[in-house]
Subunit: 288 residues, 4 copies
Amino acid sequence: MANSRFEYVREFEQPDNLLRNTWVVVRVDGRAFTKMCARYEFQKPNDRRALDVMNSAAKAVVADLPDIIIAYGVSDEYSFVLHKSCNLFERRASKLISTIVSTFTANYINCWPNSFPDTPLSFPLPTFDGRAVCYPAVQNLRDYMSWRQADCHINNLYNTAFWSLVQLGGLDNKEAEKTLAGTLAADKNEILFSRFKINYNNEPDIFRKGSVVFRDYELVDPASHRTANTIDELAEPVQQSKTQNENDKKRRSKARIVVEHLDIIRDDFWERRPWILSNKPGKIPKEI
Amino acid sequence: MANSRFEYVREFEQPDNLLRNTWVVVRVDGRAFTKMCARYEFQKPNDRRALDVMNSAAKAVVADLPDIIIAYGVSDEYSFVLHKSCNLFERRASKLISTIVSTFTANYINCWPNSFPDTPLSFPLPTFDGRAVCYPAVQNLRDYMSWRQADCHINNLYNTAFWSLVQLGGLDNKEAEKTLAGTLAADKNEILFSRFKINYNNEPDIFRKGSVVFRDYELVDPASHRTANTIDELAEPVQQSKTQNENDKKRRSKARIVVEHLDIIRDDFWERRPWILSNKPGKIPKEI
Amino acid sequence: MANSRFEYVREFEQPDNLLRNTWVVVRVDGRAFTKMCARYEFQKPNDRRALDVMNSAAKAVVADLPDIIIAYGVSDEYSFVLHKSCNLFERRASKLISTIVSTFTANYINCWPNSFPDTPLSFPLPTFDGRAVCYPAVQNLRDYMSWRQADCHINNLYNTAFWSLVQLGGLDNKEAEKTLAGTLAADKNEILFSRFKINYNNEPDIFRKGSVVFRDYELVDPASHRTANTIDELAEPVQQSKTQNENDKKRRSKARIVVEHLDIIRDDFWERRPWILSNKPGKIPKEI
Amino acid sequence: MANSRFEYVREFEQPDNLLRNTWVVVRVDGRAFTKMCARYEFQKPNDRRALDVMNSAAKAVVADLPDIIIAYGVSDEYSFVLHKSCNLFERRASKLISTIVSTFTANYINCWPNSFPDTPLSFPLPTFDGRAVCYPAVQNLRDYMSWRQADCHINNLYNTAFWSLVQLGGLDNKEAEKTLAGTLAADKNEILFSRFKINYNNEPDIFRKGSVVFRDYELVDPASHRTANTIDELAEPVQQSKTQNENDKKRRSKARIVVEHLDIIRDDFWERRPWILSNKPGKIPKEI
């Protein structure tokens, strides 16, 4: 059959390859999650079960796509970072975004019953959108990650204070909002402590710091290796022998993918885990 | 907290809005579906249960996004068409693609057990990628749809012949491939008929023509309305009164979303359903 | 020499091809022309010599690039329209923009002395920037052209009134501005006529309507041919024989490129010159 | 007048801002310069007068746009580098490309008579196209520059040998081509020396190395400052006081713009001129 007559339509496709040698962040965001929260009666200010579904889905994405070096999640969003040397799908934005969003969604739906065994999903199902942003310098990438974690902190402190005023203090939403209007972080800490004996710093790390997903290797003494920033100098992926590549792949697949709740704003996190930015697998920790 | 120090990273986001007044096709493709077919033992050349999952997922996407005027699916792919006047998400490619892919994936995972009650999904879960293409003229869009349906026909005729040779004729894969090498459509029809008494035209429409999803209204006499092509003349969406918009919305939401297996290459399909290209809801058919 | 070591840098080039089957407008704008006006003492509100330089440069661009079907200029800007079937430079935006801007600039500099024989150019030389916009429908393109010509009218009426108040009425700039603040077109016409006996409609067409550059053929009776809008239906350039292409090329090269000052908002202009939108050369007028 | 009816066409403009914090190279290329060479009888293999026009035009561009930190030219092409912190025109590709191409073209046409006093330009005038490429790392940028200079060397060695064989050796073009087919650099050097007593290394630097244009300050001892690569670490332009900015601007405008013919592949060039990559003006050399 004369398919050729129609095939010209392929030429309307426009390339969308992301600039090489830049860090690619694909951020996945829940669609209409305010409604979701209401429908499934998520606990306020944080629902541990809902976060567990997010974290499981994120772990599955990282496991599925070895080019992802780290992911950071908070609330209904998750950011996945592809190494600047990554050439997956020739860096086509639509392929990268859709693959990550699809894998995230599939796993979210699939593991929902683990966290909510008595609440089956109803229509419309939870879904996510995604976008990709390129960061040329390590510092830009680190600032992106810091931005998300700082945001997590700001929102969580506010929400914790707000819901304490409502749930423990008996205020209605408007009164709580008014009480917090114009307050600084210190004020909110003070409200929590003086009124409710809540020491914000004792709140669970998962709420205060969000969740970081990465392949885990033995921690490294920061003094022993090149600092993260020298990674910027690399113009192109280091050429390795085939054997070396195979070894890297094997080590990477052996690494445990962990979900932790750590400070990723300070240097310490990155300096003790040089493998994240170098994309050079570290030493697999001995089993205890 | 000084979040502002990091917030500059937002300025690295680059807009990706699709050109206005063009038809947007978002095509969703199964990732690694050859492996899927093997793992879940899909029937050859077509697995009706697997197609049902695809079609259910597509119906859910069309129901969720009223801007989609029609969708066409075959095998592990589905194309969703947004009307040229659509301004959803300001036509940002990444939002449109990711939302459609995510909704499709969520529903695929969710309705899998309906078709495969005894075969739970295993890891890695089925996922999909997506891309968006803009078509300026109605004819370009129709040619895109024709391209996919012609492709469906070509592949299905080949696959039907191939698997008949293997399953009924006792050939191995290589022999079947060799038998079909260089044959034309007529030859394949002849092989099917003379060797296996299979009249290809009697094969189920869903296999030969794929699946078309759209909102259904009363069919129209082609002579009674402007032809589809005059739609090209419209520079911008027709300005309507608020009441008119509300009416359209109500009618659209009342329309039944159907999955049919029709010829979309010939004019007849489009001329009898002018609402698809005009995006002007038709008359709701009376219940029988 | 091992050039290959560096050649990887080519892969950082990102494609910028404009969507096929759309009308491409490349608009060229004078940079810092307010300073130019002052330095070369352009007459107010319009300097005929300066417009002549613009028009000569535009004619040279149209002569140089047969893919340009029409150009429209006013003040220090010129819009060049490429036919929707044009595939010059594979429609790469940067190539199209830079080529048109460069050709325009070269000719502007080169023919300056014809209009300003006693005023040599000084540094910094006059320069232009450019941008490209795609329009999917004929109506969009016509509306673009109408937008520029309506703008010409609005600005010229204002400027004519303003400079009459200053040059003939003895007002200073602030007073003139104040006099015109909030006035409608009719008010400005009235001011011109009652105070200065100027009938705006008798002002030169080149000032009131701007300049249109196109290849000239014999005018056509609008009733005798398909209307412009049916051009939208064409999905792809009509396939012609080689001989036919050669004939078109020959006729196009024989056509006179004219600069006229006509109304391009109304249909009449387009209907009597169907060759502009069809890109099918008309009949060369007989020499008189 | 109701201009608003048409103004919607502005919404078809699509943004083309280049990724922040990357080095932008705008390369300008002569259009159809092979014909130019023939028409104006440029000398082979290099025409010093033609190169002088190119270099004058490039100097004018660098003078006009202080955001350009360096330019490199060879034959009929010139590459202009904008600092990664540059935010000129909000980094819109079309504005940057068209402005540089227009300024280059204007000056090329304008200073042509200085080099070719007896050969006025004829139609079509010399013109240039342009493109922009982003480089994230200093090393990528340096490799781009090295690529162009290596290319210059390769081509010039070949052309010098080729034209010696033709002009001095009496071969025709085909014979010369055949003689050089498959030869390495050493072979070409040998041919030049043994047959024509030409020591390639004594050829003028402008032919062998091309031309580098930059603002000149006092050379610096490489040991005294941070190496170029540490510039990669900078995520964003360093925040300076207004006074500091004014001082920089003043010093930059005082700097002499030079055209030199140096090796820009080796580190030495860059290490002794740290101001190029840091964009921090150096010390103005004392007049002698």
